[in-house]
């Protein structure tokens, strides 16, 4: 009998703790598939963020570090510099990467650090109960923007890919989404390329993944996917923001 679908080798047997409808599980799997397909499981080292994905170190079978809030790109820099033969990635949410860890993110990108960053943008702080994130949309209701995010009071969302694309350092920046199968498939392609770049010593790659937070958005799983498509996609257009391999 031919096997047509199975769990990636890089994923452990620990059950995921995420809420129903949360897209972390999809992205975890895409990372594992990329690592498996590139045959780099034995030399991959992941760095966990602080946030909902803090326990990601339970879910993979390769080596993992857990970093302080926002510091994953600095920790990854250390791990990579300790042995550049290893493949080092961080997995970070929007609060971790774009708020408290913005300096570490921008400077790792500016250095062209040969690491891979998987950036989950779900416009909200999940783990702490749904506070306003640096990527919360104008008007978005959160625990700490109960009347809707008011840009005149707390400014505008940060568009990470667009911002980092102004730097000379990064090799590859792409924003993807996982709200339906078609988008999941292109997300997979982007994530794999972001790892492949590192294998080929090309430098800094960051994939921003538009994701859901059913619990803190207060939406059922299908409604959350719809919200992502209708509200997030227009504000955060998917696409390649930088790809040095395409520049002549």
């Amino acid at each position: 009998m031919k096997t047509v679908f199975e769990k990636p080798k890089s994923l452990s047997n620990v059950p995921l703790h995420y809420c129903p409808g949360c897209t972390h599980g999809i992205v975890h799997r895409l990372v594992a598939e990329a690592v498996d397909e590139l045959g780099i499981e034995g030399k991959t080292i992941g760095v966990a963020p602080v946030g909902c994905a803090v326990l990601i170190y339970e879910y993979y079978n390769f080596d993992m570090a857990q970093a302080a809030h926002g510091r994953a790109p600095a920790v990854a820099t250390g791990i990579k510099r300790a042995d550049p033969n290893n493949i080092v990635f961080t997995y970070q949410g929007d609060g971790d990467l774009a708020s408290i860890g913005m300096a570490e993110t921008v400077h790792a990108a500016a250095r062209g650090e040969n690491i891979t960053i998987i950036f989950i943008n779900n416009t909200i702080y999940g783990m702490t109960g749904g506070q306003m994130a640096p990527t919360s949309l104008p008007g978005q209701v959160t625990q700490t923007s109960p009347y809707g995010r008011n840009p005149s009071l707390c400014g505008y969302p940060i568009k990470v890919c667009e911002m980092l694309a102004t730097l000379d350092g990064p090799e590859y920046l792409e924003r993807v989404s996982v709200h339906n199968v078609k988008f999941v498939r292109s997300a997979k392609k982007a994530i794999k390329k972001a790892f492949e770049n590192q294998v080929n010593n090309k430098g800094f790659s960051l994939i921003e993944v538009l994701s859901t937070c059913t619990t803190n958005w207060g939406l059922a799983p299908t409604a959350a996917l719809k919200w992502l498509e209708e509200k997030m996609l227009p504000y955060y257009p998917v696409g390649v923001y930088k790809d040095r391999s395409k520049v002549q």
């Binding site: 499981e41 034995g42 030399k43 991959t44 080292i45 760095v47 966990a48 803090v54 170190y57 993979y60 079978n61 390769f62 080596d63 993992m64 570090a65 857990q66 970093a67 302080a68 510091r71 600095a74 920790v75 990854a76 820099t77 250390g78 791990i79 990579k80 510099r81 300790a82 042995d83 033969n85 290893n86 300096a103 570490e104 921008v106 400077h107």
Partner: protein, 353 residues
């Protein structure tokens, strides 16, 4: 006997780190320790090492966390305000049982303070600094030679006890030049089976982590760590006793203050006063036993510090408040003079008559 070279204290630390096998250094500029980064930026590329000027002290200590997690010897250095920024990362490294060396070339504080030498980060170094139940092994050099030799020692202690180790020095020792021998004992190699080296698909994964959501599990990790601390307390205390045999007054000082204290002891001895010096070299573990023994012999203690009096609290605890303890101190970047210390010694002798 090996040749000696004339070096600044900061440079001696950098060269000693390389001698100890440190090939990764991360730092952010701050006075008065910039010679360390400058030296590392020149030397590291020559020895196949990594020098990286981080975007902040916060990033630097987290790069240290990464390299230490990967099982390599690694160092960062800063001065007081920068050490405050590193406190978060130091706590995480302590919580993940990572060996690393952190150098604090102290300057006056609090806040931006000043750039003159100080010892006012004693509490921060020995009582925590970051959050949670942890200790640092803290070494206090008092010469350029010790800046070098204690740096080598720091790497060994870090690997042996799986903890960050701090070199607590100050701007004077960092900037001054003295002859130094760079001939160090052979380094012991420590196996690090816990390190993030990639599984090579040949072993179960390693996780470097300070998170334990089950309270009892976190407590177990802390208890295991405190067992190692206990071993360090038993095996690693270092202090120097100078003219203590017949001393009636014991002056206590570390680092730059101990040099002032030594001059004062010599001057008082020249006047026929029986006074000696105890110089803690390890600030944690603190030389409790030496001070307790001294308390049985001497009439009083004088602590000399470049702070408003921080180490004095540990002297009080070590001696169980059994003898009067006096303080000669200057703060804000001012170093007490030997005359101020001699004055206090003479005052005690007069009061004693």
């Amino acid at each position: 006997m090996s040749d000696k070279v004339l070096m600044k204290g900061n440079e001696a630390i950098a060269e000693a780190a390389i001698a100890a096998g440190c090939r990764h250094y991360f730092g952010y500029p701050i006075t008065p320790q910039n010679e360390i980064g400058a030296y590392m930026s020149k030397r590291m590329p020559k020895v196949g090492g990594v020098f990286l000027q981080a975007e902040s002290e916060v990033a630097a200590i987290n790069m240290v966390y990464g390299v230490a997690g990967a099982g390599k010897r690694v160092m960062t250095s800063s001065s007081s305000p920068g050490i405050s920024l590193k406190a978060e990362g130091i706590s995480y490294a302590a919580g993940a049982d990572l060996p690393a060396v952190i150098v604090n070339i102290q300057r006056g504080g609090p806040g931006l303070g000043g750039i003159q030498p100080s010892q006012a980060d004693y509490f921060q170094a020995v009582k925590g600094g970051g959050h949670g139940d942890y200790k640092l092994i803290v070494l206090a050099p008092a010469s350029v030679q010790e800046m070098a030799s204690l740096t080598v020692k720091a790497f060994e202690l870090a690997d042996r006890y799986l903890t960050p180790v701090m070199i607590l020095s100050d701007g004077t020792l960092g900037q001054m030049m003295e002859p130094v021998s760079l001939d160090f004992p052979q380094q012991q190699v420590f196996e690090k089976p816990w390190a993030l080296t990639g599984t090579k698909c040949a072993r179960p994964k390693n996780v470097v982590n300070s998170l334990h959501l089950v309270a009892e599990k976190l407590e177990q990790k802390i208890l295991a760590r405190y067992e190692r601390y206990k071993a360090a307390e038993q095996n690693e205390v270092m202090c120097e006793e100078y003219l203590m045999d017949d001393a009636e007054i014991c002056v206590v000082g570390f680092g730059i203050s101990s040099r002032v204290a030594r001059s004062a002891v010599n001057a008082a001895r020249a006047k026929g006063i029986k006074v000696g010096l105890i110089r803690p070299v390890t600030l944690w573990p603190f030389p409790d036993a030496a001070l307790k023994a001294a308390a049985k012999k001497v009439k009083a203690f004088i602590c000399v510090e470049c702070s408003m009096g921080q180490m004095i609290e540990d002297v009080k605890l070590a001696t169980e408040f059994s003898k009067p303890i006096h303080l000669v101190c200057r703060s804000g970047g001012v170093i007490p003079s030997p005359e101020e210390v001699v004055g206090k010694i003479e005052e005690l002798m007069i009061n004693d008559k």
